[in-house]
C-alpha cells in the first residue's frame, strides 16, 4: 500500500471536513476532522518511518523531508492541544496546513533509493528546525484565527461561525506557548546548523541564501518574543506578529529552498 498517498488523502479529507465544519457550521464535522487528522498522523508516521527505513531519528536531510516532518510534528502538537475541546476550531488551519506540508514534502516520504549516512549535527539541525517551524506555524495559525475572531467581535458580527472558532483568550494562549517553544527550538536549530557547518566546512558561517534567510527569520522572531514577554505586547499585536513572522520564516526557509 502507498502510505504516502494514503496520508495525503486522509489529511485532505480532514481539511475538507474542517472547512465544512466551519462553513455550515456543524460541530460534528469539526470533530470528525480532528479524528481524521489523528488517523492521518498515524499513517503519516508509518509512511515516514517506512521511507526512512525505521531509523530513529529518521535520516532527514533535504527540505521536502523536513517540511513533511514539520507537518507531522505540527499535527501532533495540535492533537495535544485539542484535549481542550474549545481549541478544536484550530483544526480548520492545521488540517489544510498538514495536507500542504505532506503534498510539498512528498519527496521526503519517497523511499530513499540509496540511503546515506547523515551527520549527527545535520540530523539534530533538521529535527529541531522542523519542530520549531511546526510550532511557529501553529502560532501563526492561532494568530490568524485570533484576528478573524477579533474582527467579528469588534464589528458586532458574532454568529455561528464565530462560535465554531476557539475563544480569543485560548487562541492567545496557544500563540504565546507555541511562539515561545517554537523560538527556543528554532534557536537550537541555528546553533546545531552552525555546528554542522563547522564540522563540514571548518568555518562558522556557510554563507548560503538558506542560512542568511533563516538567520533573518530568527532575528525577527527574537524581536517578537522580546516584545511579547519584555515589552508586554498586546494580544492583537502578538497575533499580527505571529502571522507576519511565520510568513517571513516560510518564505525564508521554504521559499529560498525551492527557488532556483
Amino acid at each position: 500500500m502507498n502510505l504516502h498517498a494514503l496520508t495525503e488523502a486522509i489529511y485532505l479529507l480532514a481539511a475538507v471536513l474542517a472547512t465544512l465544519g466551519l462553513a455550515l457550521p456543524q460541530p460534528r464535522l469539526s470533530r470528525a476532522a480532528v479524528v481524521a487528522l489523528a488517523g492521518g498522523a498515524l499513517v503519516h508516521a508509518a509512511a515516514f518511518f517506512q521511507a526512512h527505513e525505521f531509523r530513529i531519528p529518521p535520516h532527514v536531510s533535504g527540505l521536502p523531508g523536513a517540511v513533511s516532518l514539520a507537518a507531522w510534528l505540527g499535527t501532533l502538537f495540535f492533537l495535544v492541544l485539542v484535549r481542550r475541546p474549545r481549541l478544536r476550531g484550530l483544526v480548520v488551519i492545521v488540517a489544510p496546513a498538514a495536507f500542504l506540508g505532506v503534498f510539498f514534502g512528498s519527496g521526503g516520504l519517497a523511499p530513499a533509493a540509496a540511503p546515506t549516512e547523515v551527520p549527527i549535527w545535520a540530523q539534530a539541525h533538521v529535527l529541531l528546525a522542523s519542530a520549531g517551524f511546526a510550532l511557529l506555524g501553529v502560532a501563526g495559525g492561532a494568530g490568524a484565527l485570533f484576528l478573524v475572531q477579533r474582527r467579528s467581535l469588534k464589528r458586532k458580527q458574532s454568529g455561528s461561525r464565530s462560535r465554531a472558532l476557539p475563544p480569543l483568550e485560548a487562541l492567545d494562549r496557544v500563540n504565546a506557548l507555541a511562539i515561545s517553544v517554537g523560538f527556543l527550538l528554532l534557536s537550537l536549530a541555528v546553533v546545531t546548523g552552525v555546528l554542522w557547518t563547522v564540522e563540514r566546512e571548518g568555518r562558522l558561517w556557510p554563507g548560503s541564501p538558506h542560512a542568511s534567510a533563516a538567520l533573518v527569520a530568527w532575528a525577527i522572531y527574537a524581536a517578537l518574543v522580546a516584545s511579547r514577554w519584555l515589552a508586554h505586547q498586546g494580544a492583537t499585536r502578538a497575533a499580527q506578529s505571529a502571522v507576519a513572522g511565520f510568513a517571513i520564516l516560510a518564505a525564508a526557509v521554504v521559499g529560498v529552498g525551492v527557488l532556483p
Partner: protein, 434 residues
C-alpha cells in the same frame, strides 16, 4: 384541545392553568369517553392531550372539562372567551401538534429548551395518576425522541435569543473559561442581573458590585455572593475585572476611555468585555477603539439576538420536516394498532375451524378409515371453511365499483399476484437442527 400564547391572553391562560394535575386527570379520564389523557399546563399554554374512541363525544367532554374542572372561578373579563381561545386537533394533526410542542417549534421563543422538560413533567404526572395508557405513552415517547432529533439535527436551539444570554455567549467567545473571571456590575437593572445570572451559570464566580447607593450594592452583593463597592473605586475595580456590566442612571458616561486605558496597563493586556445596558449609555463609545476591549451596548446585543432569532426561523423549516416525518411514522404505528382486533378475530375464527376439523378427523381415524382419506378430508375441510365466507362475499357483490374494489382487496390480501411460495413457513415451525 387547549389554548396558548397565540390564542389566549395571559389573564385567560392563568385562569385555566393548573398546578396539581392528578385530581383533574382523575375527573377527566373514564372507560368510555376519554380513555387516556395528559395535561400540559405552562405559562404559555394549557392543553389536554386525550385519547378517545368517539371524537364528537370527547370534544364535548373536553370542552366541559375546561369550563368546569379547570376554570378557577368565574371567567376574567379580558375581552376573550374560552371558545375563542380554545383550539383543537384530532388524528394526525393532533400527533403533529404534540411533536411540534415538544420540539419547541410552537413555543413563544422558538427553540427554547424549557418546554421539553415541561412536557416530560406533564407526561410523568399523567403516568403517576394512571391516566396514560399504551397510546399516549407511545405518543409522548415518540415526541421526546422527535424533540431530541430536532435538537441534534437542526440549529433551532443553538444560538441564544435573549439579550442576557447573548451577553453570556459573547463572553464565551472571548474567554476560554469563566471560572477564573471577575465580573464588575456598575449600577443595577433587571437586564444586567439576568446577564450576570447567565454568566454565573457558565461558571463565573467572582462578582463585584459598585453603585451610587451603598445599601443597594450590598443587597446585590449578598444575592450574588460578591463584594459591594462605591462608584469612586471604579478605576481600581476596572483593572481587576474581566467583564463589566453597566446599567446606571445619568446622562454622562460613568466609564470613560482614559479610565479603561489606565486599567488596561495594570491588567497585562487581558481582554475586557464591557456590556453597557444603560439608556442613556454609561460607557464612552471610544472605549471600543482600545485594543483588547470589546464593548457592546443594548442595540449591539439586540442585533446579535435578532440575527440568532432569524437563524432559528430558518432552522424551523428543517425542524418542521423532521416533525412531519416522525408524525407519519407514528400514524403508521397507530394504523397498525387499529388492525389488531381484526387480526385477533381472524385468528380466532381460523383456530375454531381448525379445532372442529381436527376433532372430526380424529373421530374418523378411530372408525378405521384410511389415514390418507382422513388427511385429505381434513385439509380440504379447513380450506373450504376458511375460504367460504370470503368467496361468498366476492360472488355476492352487486355494486360493480364496490365489487371491483373488493376483488382488488382480495387479490392484495391473499397475495394472488405474487409468485406462489414453494413452502409457506409455519408459525410453529422450528428451524431444523444439523
Amino acid at each position: 384541545m387547549g389554548m396558548n400564547h397565540r390564542t389566549a391572553p395571559l389573564a385567560l391562560r392563568e385562569h385555566y392553568a393548573i398546578e396539581d394535575v392528578a385530581p383533574a386527570l382523575t375527573k377527566l379520564v373514564d372507560r368510555d369517553v376519554i380513555t387516556e389523557a395528559v395535561l400540559l399546563s405552562t405559562c404559555n399554554r394549557v392543553e389536554a392531550v386525550a385519547c378517545a374512541p368517539r371524537l364528537e363525544v370527547a370534544r364535548g367532554r373536553l370542552r366541559s372539562f375546561f369550563e368546569r374542572d379547570l376554570a378557577q372561578g368565574p371567567p376574567p373579563d379580558v375581552g376573550a372567551s374560552l371558545s375563542d381561545a380554545l383550539y383543537e386537533h384530532s388524528g394526525p394533526e393532533a400527533v403533529r401538534h404534540v411533536f411540534r410542542v415538544a420540539s419547541s417549534i410552537d413555543s413563544m421563543v422558538l427553540g427554547e429548551p424549557q418546554i421539553l422538560g415541561q412536557v416530560k413533567d406533564a407526561y410523568r404526572a399523567a403516568t403517576a395518576a394512571g391516566s396514560c395508557g399504551g397510546v399516549l405513552t407511545r405518543l409522548f415517547q415518540h415526541a421526546f425522541a422527535t424533540a431530541k432529533r430536532v435538537r441534534n439535527e437542526t440549529r433551532i436551539a443553538e444560538r441564544p435569543v435573549s439579550v442576557a444570554r447573548v451577553a453570556a455567549e459573547l463572553a464565551s467567545e472571548i474567554f476560554e473559561s469563566m471560572a477564573d473571571k471577575c465580573a464588575l456590575l456598575v449600577g443595577a437593572g433587571e437586564m444586567t442581573e439576568l446577564a450576570l445570572e447567565a454568566m454565573r451559570e457558565s461558571g463565573l464566580s467572582r462578582v463585584r458590585i459598585a453603585n451610587r447607593t451603598r445599601a443597594r450594592a450590598e443587597a446585590l452583593a449578598s444575592r450574588f455572593d460578591g463584594t459591594a463597592h462605591d462608584l469612586e473605586e471604579l478605576p481600581e475595580l476596572l483593572a481587576q475585572a474581566d467583564v463589566v456590566l453597566t446599567s446606571i442612571g445619568g446622562h454622562e458616561p460613568v466609564v470613560v476611555r482614559q479610565q479603561v486605558e489606565r486599567a488596561l496597563h495594570g491588567r497585562g493586556h487581558r481582554p475586557l468585555f464591557v456590556i453597557d445596558l444603560g439608556v442613556p449609555r454609561n460607557v464612552d463609545r471610544r472605549v471600543d477603539e482600545l485594543d483588547g476591549v470589546y464593548l457592546y451596548d443594548v442595540d449591539d446585543l439586540g442585533r446579535v439576538a435578532e440575527a440568532n432569532a432569524e437563524e432559528r426561523r430558518r432552522e424551523k423549516i428543517r425542524a418542521e420536516a423532521i416533525v412531519l416525518e416522525e408524525a407519519q411514522r407514528f400514524d403508521g404505528w397507530l394504523a397498525a394498532l387499529a388492525a389488531v382486533p381484526t387480526i385477533r378475530d381472524l385468528r380466532n375464527r381460523a383456530e375454531a375451524i381448525r379445532s372442529r376439523e381436527l376433532e372430526r378427523a380424529l373421530a374418523r381415524l378411530e372408525s378405521a378409515d384410511s389415514p390418507r382419506e382422513v388427511l385429505e378430508a381434513l385439509t380440504r375441510g379447513i380450506v373450504n371453511k376458511l375460504l367460504h365466507a370470503p368467496v361468498s362475499r366476492l360472488r355476492a357483490q352487486e355494486d360493480r365499483e364496490q365489487g371491483l374494489a373488493t376483488l382488488e382487496a382480495a387479490r392484495a390480501l391473499f397475495a394472488l399476484d405474487e409468485r406462489e411460495p414453494e413452502a409457506l413457513p409455519s408459525q410453529d415451525e422450528e428451524p431444523e437442527g444439523p
